[in-house]
């Protein structure tokens, strides 16, 4: 029985915003299957009642005074943009996009 189907790989690739060629999707399915087979060993570990570790350090969020400071200037912030106009990033059409995506 396979752990992950080709259709599932395509669904995940879309969630990750990665376009896969058909051959890439086949290869990805085969590799993911091998890794999922390997990590299945964790099923044998008894974790009932065990807290999950999300971080090894205490997760109390530190706070600080809200003091104005130097930030990236807008022109610096867009300096690396592949496409920018003034201090704005330019992108293709966004509205209605999800309907086709």
């Amino acid at each position: 029985m396979s752990r992950i189907s080709r259709a599932e790989v395509e669904r995940i690739a879309h969630l990750a915003r990665l376009r896969l060629e058909p051959a890439e999707a086949d290869e990805a399915r085969r590799r993911l299957e091998a890794i999922l087979d390997y990590v299945a060993q964790l099923e044998a570990v008894d974790t009932r009642g065990v807290q999950a570790t999300t971080s090894v350090i205490p997760l109390a969020t530190p706070t600080r005074d809200d003091v104005p400071g130097e930030l990236l200037a807008p022109e610096v912030a867009v300096a690396n943009a592949p496409s920018a106009r003034g201090s704005a990033f330019t992108v293709p059409r966004v509205l209605d996009d999800e309907a086709e995506g």
């Binding site: 990665l18 807290q51 570790t53």
Partner: protein
């Protein structure tokens, strides 16, 4: 060609004595780089003119009787995932082609304030995802000990640059062993500090709960100097620890009597270690025992699940961290085509990421997706808790745990690249320290068939100084760290 650069400590002493200049050191560094790097490919970017100007500024300070720190005028290299203002940072990925950082990583700001001279940026596996430096879009780095072999990874360029004597010190990042493993395979010292000890601000994120910046050098004493320069709290990184960084150099007493070292019980060792690695590591333990350390067995039963837990947690975090590469704000963008912004994202990421990065993003997206979160991601985090408890219990019985850094010496380029899982298993001894947030150092402990073997020392959280003290005591008694690649 000039001689390999000496240790940071030796160079600092020669600078202080007026026996050399920062300019001479940077010139020697580039002389070796020019001669060796076309074959090694340790560097992705260099900054010759800027480095020489900074060296001159350091020499001018010295002429005025000023010294910012022991690192003032010392040439160093940075892994190409630690950003420096005005310099490229590619992470060896096509998707960051052309990117120039507008700011300094905190580590870089501190190094510059200390007077260190950054000569260039070193090769890595793309986004630090790999253990061989073969996943670089610019091609692999070669091991100075044998150019047909990998330097390890992902910080393979930094390890190779120090091993080849191009720089006396370099910096890398360690998410699952990416400093310690290449240090072992290249015969140099590499340290992963306690999680939170060094700011991650300006380290391009792979897996945020595991990533940590650390130094490469030839000696533990140098690592202490380098860690002093970069450690400490940073308001820009809320996971950086508030505890002030101690004087690591002062902790290097050369004395390990009174310390207890834990060695893994055979049953816990399921690694496929080669006989040569086993022999060298056993000899290193015996040497520390002769130096007065006590040795006792400890058990870490959940470390055998470490690799599985690590790959689930690291890929989950990576899939989230790498969502930012969308072709909008920086880096490479696919040509405009049919479809709106979603199609642009998909094409940009398909063209920009390499195969291993895509594989990990897919795995991470899968384990975080509805219906699989509890089975994979949460399960892995629970196993992480059990593994931390193993270490807590072990550290009741010992002050440090000693073990090999890798199961085998440097492997051939291409040997493992067809099977990602085989390469993942090379991290079997290193991932646990990341999962538990512990400090760990790898030091050279001799050769196996002419190739370096790494001896790893893990300590309690925030006991970086103890780990360095043991490593330094070993190096005072042995000469393995003096061995150089055969050319």
């Amino acid at each position: 060609m000039s001689e390999p650069l000496e240790t940071v400590g030796e160079l600092a002493a020669r600078l202080a004595a007026g026996a050399t200049s920062a300019r001479a050191l940077v010139e020697r560094s580039f002389e070796r780089l020019d001669a060796l790097d076309p074959a090694l490919h340790a560097f992705l970017f260099t900054r010759r003119e800027a480095a020489l100007a900074e060296a001159d500024a350091s020499d001018a300070r010295r002429a005025r009787g000023e010294r910012r720190s022991p690192l003032d005028g010392i040439p160093v290299a940075l892994k190409d995932n630690i950003v420096q203002a005005g310099e490229p940072a590619s992470c060896a990925s096509r998707i960051l082609a052309g990117y120039v950082s507008p700011f300094d990583a905190t580590v870089v700001a501190r190094l510059r304030a200390a007077g260190a001279v950054i000569v260039g940026r070193t090769n890595l596996d793309e986004f630090a995802m790999g253990s061989s430096t073969e996943n670089s879009c610019a091609g692999p780095t070669r091991n100075p000990w044998d150019p047909s072999r990998s330097p390890g990874g992902s910080s393979g360029g930094s390890a190779a640059a120090v091993a080849a004597g191009i720089v006396p010190a370099a910096f890398g990042s360690d998410t699952g062993g990416s400093i310690r493993q290449p240090a072992a395979l290249c015969g140099v010292v590499g340290m992963k500090p306690t999680y939170g000890r060094v700011s991650r601000f300006g380290l391009i994120a792979f897996a945020s709960s595991l990533d940590q910046i650390g130094p490469f050098a030839r000696t533990a004493a140098d690592c202490a100097l380098l860690l002093e320069a970069i450690a400490g709290h940073d308001p820009h990184d809320s996971t950086s620890l508030p505890e002030p960084a101690p004087d690591f150099s002062r902790a290097l007493t050369g004395d390990v009597s009174g310390l207890t070292l834990g060695v893994l019980r055979e049953a816990d060792d399921q690694s496929g270690m080669t006989p040569g690695v086993h022999a060298r590591v056993s000899e290193a333990v015996a040497e520390l025992e002769r130096a007065g350390a006590k040795v006792r067995e400890v058990s870490l039963p959940h470390t055998r699940f470490g690799i599985a837990a690590y790959y689930l947690i690291a890929t989950a975090e990576a899939s989230s961290n790498l969502a930012r590469y969308d072709g909008v704000r920086y880096g490479r963008r696919a040509a405009d085509g049919a479809g709106g912004i979603t199609a642009l994202y998909e094409r940009t990421r398909a063209e920009g990421f390499g195969a291993e990065v895509k594989r990990r993003i897919l795995l991470g997206t899968y384990v975080l997706s509805a219906g699989y979160y509890d089975a994979y991601y949460r399960k892995a985090q629970q196993v992480r808790t059990l593994l931390r408890r193993d270490f807590d219990a072990a550290f009741e019985a010992c002050d440090a745990i000693v073990l090999p850094t890798t199961p085998e010496a440097a492997f051939r380029l291409g040997e493992k690249s067809s099977d990602p899982l085989a390469l993942y298993l090379a991290d079997v001894f290193t991932v646990s320290a990341n999962l538990a947030g512990l400090p760990g150092v790898s030091i050279p402990c001799g050769l196996d068939a002419g190739l370096p073997v790494g001896f790893q020392i893990l300590g309690r959280p925030l006991e970086d100084a103890t780990v360095l003290r043991i490593a330094d005591a070993y190096q005072r008694r042995t000469e393995h760290h003096l061995a150089r690649p055969p050319r």
